[in-house]
Symmetry: C2
Amino acid sequence: MLTPSCLQIVQIRIDEEKERTTFMVRLGGNEMRDGGDLKDGARERPTLKTIAFMTGLGITTVSRALKDAPDIGADTKERVRLVARQIGYQPNRAGVRLRTGKTNVIALVLSIEEELMGFTNHIVFGISEVLTGTPYHLVITPHASARDPMVPIRYILDTGSADGVIISRTEPNDPRVALMEERGMPFATHGRTNMGIVHPYHDYDNETFAREAVRRLVARGRKNIAIILPEGHLSYTGHSIKGFRDGLSLHGARSVPFDSVTVESPLTAIHDATRALMSGPDAPDGLISMAGGCTIAMVAGLEAAGKKLGRDVDLVSKQNSDLLKWIRPEIIAANEDIRAAGMELARAVLASIGGAAPESLQTLYQPSFAEDA
Amino acid sequence: MLTPSCLQIVQIRIDEEKERTTFMVRLGGNEMRDGGDLKDGARERPTLKTIAFMTGLGITTVSRALKDAPDIGADTKERVRLVARQIGYQPNRAGVRLRTGKTNVIALVLSIEEELMGFTNHIVFGISEVLTGTPYHLVITPHASARDPMVPIRYILDTGSADGVIISRTEPNDPRVALMEERGMPFATHGRTNMGIVHPYHDYDNETFAREAVRRLVARGRKNIAIILPEGHLSYTGHSIKGFRDGLSLHGARSVPFDSVTVESPLTAIHDATRALMSGPDAPDGLISMAGGCTIAMVAGLEAAGKKLGRDVDLVSKQNSDLLKWIRPEIIAANEDIRAAGMELARAVLASIGGAAPESLQTLYQPSFAEDA
DNA sequence: GATAATTACTGTAACGATACAGGAGATTTG
DNA sequence: CAAATCTCCTGTATCGTTACAGTAATTATC
C-alpha cells in the first residue's frame, strides 16, 4: 500500500493564465502521476482526483469507496471517507448528471394562478424541508395556466431536467399524468385523478369538507346553502360538489345556485356576486367557500348587502393559514395544511424515484375544523 | 462540401441490452465515422453529434455554428440551425456545465419566515417571468433564518451551483453580501446595504412610506402615532424608523412607543399587544404597519379594545396584495409590488452576470397609495 | 503444489459540450 | 508562380464522474 512518504513531487507546472498550479508526483516505483491542482488557499474545489492523490489510491477506488461498494476494503473506505470529510468533498453535480443521467432535481410545476394566501410559500417550504439533507435541489417551473400546461411537462421530459416532478391543480383526466406515466417519469400530484392510473398523490378530503360544512350549517339552523366552487375542470371541484350534494340530502338542506363566480375569480367579482346574491329574494342563510382568499371578499360582499355573519348567515370556509379568525371570528374555518402537503408530496416523489409502489404513496388528509380544537 | 448523398451507412450495431442502435457511416473519402445513435421514434435526445451526422459536419463545427462563431460560413450556420430546430435540439445542461462551469441557474435564497401574504409567490413568479425565454432555471434554496443564514450562501459558492444569487431580508451590514462580493459571485439583494459595497439591489422606499404615512395621519388630525416595525437587524427597519421620525418632526406629531412586537411576531401576540396598547392611557390615534399580515391582527386588536377605525384611530399599512380594502375599507394602504420586485431582481442578476456595472442595477420603487388612485 | 476462487484495487472509455491548435483549399500578394 | 493570407472546417483533450473489464496478490480447494 502506498503511504504518503513514498510520494514525491517532482515537477511543478504553473499556468499563469488559468491561475492554477499543477504538479506531477513520482510514486514508489518509477511511474509518474498527475497530482492534480495544488489548492491555493483551499479555494479550488476538491474532486475525486484530489482525494485519490491525497490517499494514494486510484480515482475509481475513491469513487467506489464513497459509494460503499462491496469490493473495497473496510479500512480503505474509512480512510477515504475521512479525507473526503476533511477537505469538504462534494460530488460535482454536472459530472454525476452527465455520466449517470441523474439530475438530483425535483421540479415543482406551478401555475401562476396558484396563489391564494401563501400556497406557494407553504408548499415550497414543505418540499424543501424534506429535501434538506438529501442531494436534491428544488427547481420551480412556472407556467401561465391559460396557456398549455403540457409545455413545462414536455420540457422536463424532453430535456431530462429532473428526476421527479410535483404538479398541482390536478384534473380528473389529466394529460400530464398520462404522459409522465408513459415516459416513466416519477411524479406526485397534489390532488387525485380518475383515469385508471395508479400514481402517487396527496390530497385533501374536500368531499368530506363540503359535506361536513353542510352539516355544521344545518346544525346552526341554516337550510338554504350556496357554495363557491373552484374552476370546473379541476379534480377537487368534483369532490366538492359530491360532498356538498351528499351533505344536502343527508342533512335536509337545499342548494342556492351560486355559479357566476369561482374561487379564482377576481375578488371584486366575488364581492359583487356575493352582494347580489345576498340582496336577492332567494338569499341563502348558509355559505361555503372552498378557499380562504375569496372568503374575505365574500364577507365584504354579504356585509355590503346588509347581512351580518352569525345572525343572518353563517359561513364555512377552508383556509391555508390561520388568518380568517382575525377577520371575522364568526367564520367557521377548516385548515388545509399546505406545508404538510408539500412534505407528503416530496416524500412521495422521492420514494417513487426509489422504486416504491405507487399505491403505497397516496395520502389523503382529513379536514380539521378550528372550532373543534 | 459534403452533401447527404456522399454519406453511406455501412455498419449497424444493435446493442440489445442498452436498447439502442448505433451505426457507422462511410464518408466521401474512405474514412469511417461513428454515426451515433439511430433514434427510435425520436425518443433519443438529439445532441451535437446527431446534428453533426445529419449535416455531415464535424461536432465542433456544429457547436460553433450554433454559437454564431465568426469562422463558420453563413450558409453552414443556416443549415445547422435549421436541422437543430427541426429535431428540437437543446444543449445538454450537464455537458455545458461540466465543460464551462456555467450552471444556467439562478438561486433564490429564502428565509422560511419570509411569508407575509404571498411574498414567496409574487417574487418567484416575478423572477420566473424574466427567466422565461432564457436558459436559466430557478432553484429555491431555503433556510431557517434562526440558523446561520450564511450556510446556503457558502454552499452555493463552494459548490458553484448557481451563476447568480438573489437574497432578501438584507441587513445594513450583511455578511452574505461581503462574501459573495469577495468571491465574485453575481447577486442582487432585495433591500439595500450600507457597507461601502456597490452592488445590484432592488428596494422599496420604506423611508418615504413611513414619512408619508405620518403625513396622511396628521392630515386626518392624528397626532399620537405608533408604528409596528420589522425585526431590528434588517435594513428596512432603519429606513422605516428614519422616515417615521422625519415625518413626526416634519408634521408635528409625536411617537407612541410600540416595540413589544414586530411585524414578524405571531399574530396572536400582535393582536394582544395592540389591544393592550389601545386600551391604555396613552393609546395612539394613529397606527402605522409595515406589513399587511400583521395589519389584520392589529385591526382585530384595536377593535377588541373597543376602538373603531376611522373614528377613534386611523391606520396606514403596507400590503403585498390588494386584500386589506376588503377587510376594512378604512385602512389607508400603500401597495408594494413584490412581483415587480422579483422582475427587477432577476433583471439585475442577469445583467450582473453579463458584466453590467452594479451602480446601473439599482432600483428603488416609490410607494403608491390606494387612496390616490 | 497446482488450480480455482476471492479480495482489493485500477485503467480506460464514455456521458455532451467547448477551448484550442491546427489544416486543407481558395484567394490575394509581390 | 511561390508565398502569404484568409475562409471554413476538424480532431483532440478536457471538465468530474461512473460502468466495465480487467489485474495482481492472497486465500481456499482438492
